[in-house]
Symmetry: C2
Subunit: 364 residues, 2 copies
């Protein structure tokens, strides 16, 4: 995989919390234009296929990614996008692709989902996940679920095997047992890094929300398959040192995810409570229904969240034609998009690297 050089990850020159204006991080720049901003011109100086389907866009969380995690984050989201794209290219559904991508991100300890989840105040792991099918508006979610390796797969089973949309806590665990999902040792989900951050935030003067800006690595994906069906998935370990039983935006349809074949799909990341207060995913799709592009709608939604409830975050968005955007007003968001046999990815605002998907497949 292509290395992202340190010089290419120079911080955004403007205020850290200003809405980014990196117009390259969307498909707008991919239609018959040369990519002018990447330092890796060798991989960029060619024309993109005009066929925009299939497409998948993933994120690995908005916030600040520690330098030692930067390369791993970029590698993780790129690999997840590539794996999801391979599903789509092979004719599998958008739902298959987003669940595949999010499963890889849950398995990757760099991200705050599955293995690598942040800990609750009690030092336990409680996870939320959701999937949504844009064709039927069906959805499945789990909240505050414990000892499951891949909550996103359990969320999909809630959608497919029950008449409900969300199962929580012990009820979700019971359902997992009924489905034959193995229960894993909680320790297998906990990394040294997440335990260190938990300890740091146990002191009375700690500010877990502030601290979370250092690791908001909720993960998610949106995709459109060859049939034009749209799906999304989001998964998270929640907020550092959160109260037992806290449910954030991820398990809440319209907040932590929304997909509608007629409009598009959104998977967000950021401060969950702020995302919930403005139902960010549904809001962005409303803007798209009113004629805004994926990028314009994402920027409007994020600006509204900052203005109305002082919330920071990011989103990945697709529309039914395969136009996509990865936008954020936090300092960073690890993201990757696979389309037209290329993988695009970035971490800082204004940053986009591109490589052949075959090259990526061969090297990974």
């Amino acid at each position: 995989m292509m290395e992202v050089t340190e010089s290419a990850r120079a911080p955004h020159p403007g205020p850290a919390h200003r809405l980014t204006s990196n117009s390259d991080v969307s498909t707008t720049a991919l239609k018959g234009q040369r990519c002018a901003t990447s330092p890796h011109s060798g991989s960029c100086l060619r024309w993109i296929s005009m066929s925009l389907l299939p497409v998948i866009v993933v994120h690995g969380g908005a916030g600040y990614v520690p330098r030692k995690h930067a390369d791993l984050s970029c590698k993780g989201v790129s690999e997840a996008a590539r794996a999801g794209y391979v599903c789509l290219r092979d004719g599998l559904s958008a739902m298959d692709a987003v669940v595949k991508a999010v499963t890889l991100l849950e398995d990757n300890p760099v991200f705050n989902a599955g293995r690598g989840s942040v800990l609750t105040h009690k030092g336990t792991v409680e996870m939320d996940a959701i999937v949504m099918d844009g064709c039927t508006l069906s959805s499945g979610a789990v909240s505050a679920v414990k000892r499951i390796a891949n909550p996103v797969q359990l969320a999909r089973l809630v959608m497919e095997k029950t008449s409900h949309l969300c199962l929580t806590a012990e009820g979700a665990s019971q359902f997992a047992r009924d489905m034959g999902i193995p229960e894993v040792d909680e320790e297998s989900l906990i990394t040294d890094y997440s335990r260190m951050r938990w300890r740091q935030n146990l002191s009375p003067d700690a500010n877990p929300v502030e601290s979370q800006m250092g690791k908001m690595g909720t993960v998610g994906a949106v995709a459109v398959d060859l049939q034009g069906n749209i799906a999304c998935a989001t998964s998270t370990g929640g907020l550092i040192n959160q109260m037992e039983g806290r449910v954030g935006d991820t398990a809440c349809i319209g907040c932590g995810a929304y997909a509608d074949n007629k409009v598009g799909a959104v998977s967000p990341t950021g401060h969950g409570e702020a995302i919930m207060k403005i139902t960010l995913s549904r809001l962005i799709l409303f803007y798209m229904e009113q004629g805004k592009s994926a990028k314009e709608a994402a920027d409007l939604g994020l600006a509204y969240m900052l203005d109305r409830v002082q919330g920071l975050g990011g989103v990945v968005v697709v529309d039914p034609k395969g136009n996509w955007a990865a936008r954020f007003n936090s300092l960073q968001m690890a993201w990757a998009a696979a389309q037209g046999d290329e993988v695009h990815y970035g971490l800082y605002a204004g940053e986009r690297f591109t490589q052949d998907i075959q090259q990526d497949e061969a090297q990974s």
Copy 2:
């Protein structure tokens, strides 16, 4: 309290599932017009005060209300609306008013919330509740909470005493203990009627969703206070014989409730999963942002839910000026509105009775 005669409760003449066209069930008909449809002309033949604030509108659930519960349902919602209105008239906040009204409905065994909740498949009581403050967009919710008399009050404490928006299951119970909320005996929440319905739906060929049409008594309220602040609250025992840990629309912001001082507030009732798929509360407020009246937006939202996901339900809606609507496309919805020192209420489509709030206060 005025008796609602049986003749006045004749079923709506059209198909049971058709969107109601009862244009009288909104403030549109209250501005200097005579109420023409009520059989109780004595209480209707007078002019309504032009001052629309404060106002509170409550519902006791959409679906089919058994005849033996009809009078009690109408009485229950009327009393809740009156009690909330007294709060507002005394200068308390919209939040105080909706929590007061919903607390009374939770305490009333006629409704599917608090005491009188339907039972899970296991025969237990798991409740969801939410409040939202339209000034700050703050919200608090509890999901799958057990052995609490008034989940709506616990939801308010989540909003006011934590940095989170939702606590679930045992985490919510732990928070209740921390707040000094007494744990009640689960039996005290269970009525003979809810246990009978649970038993009926244990057979393998039972259809709990269909059966729920017989008792969808989720409760909710929306209000605007004298300062123009808007709030809403919703509370439910969920779906008959639901899986353990099932969370429906009520605990999900944008689905089971939404309030925004700039637009209005919605509290819905009906099939929770359908409400979630289209984020009904936020959808109706989007229509209002686009210039629709509370009534028009409610009807559009309910029609969309029926068309897109074949869901039935109802809503109570207010806007910042105090215009309100109580709309449903189920056979019935117990609702009541208090405004201008009058209480309006109804159960079937096209039905509205009106009485002086003083008369109600004296008789109840």
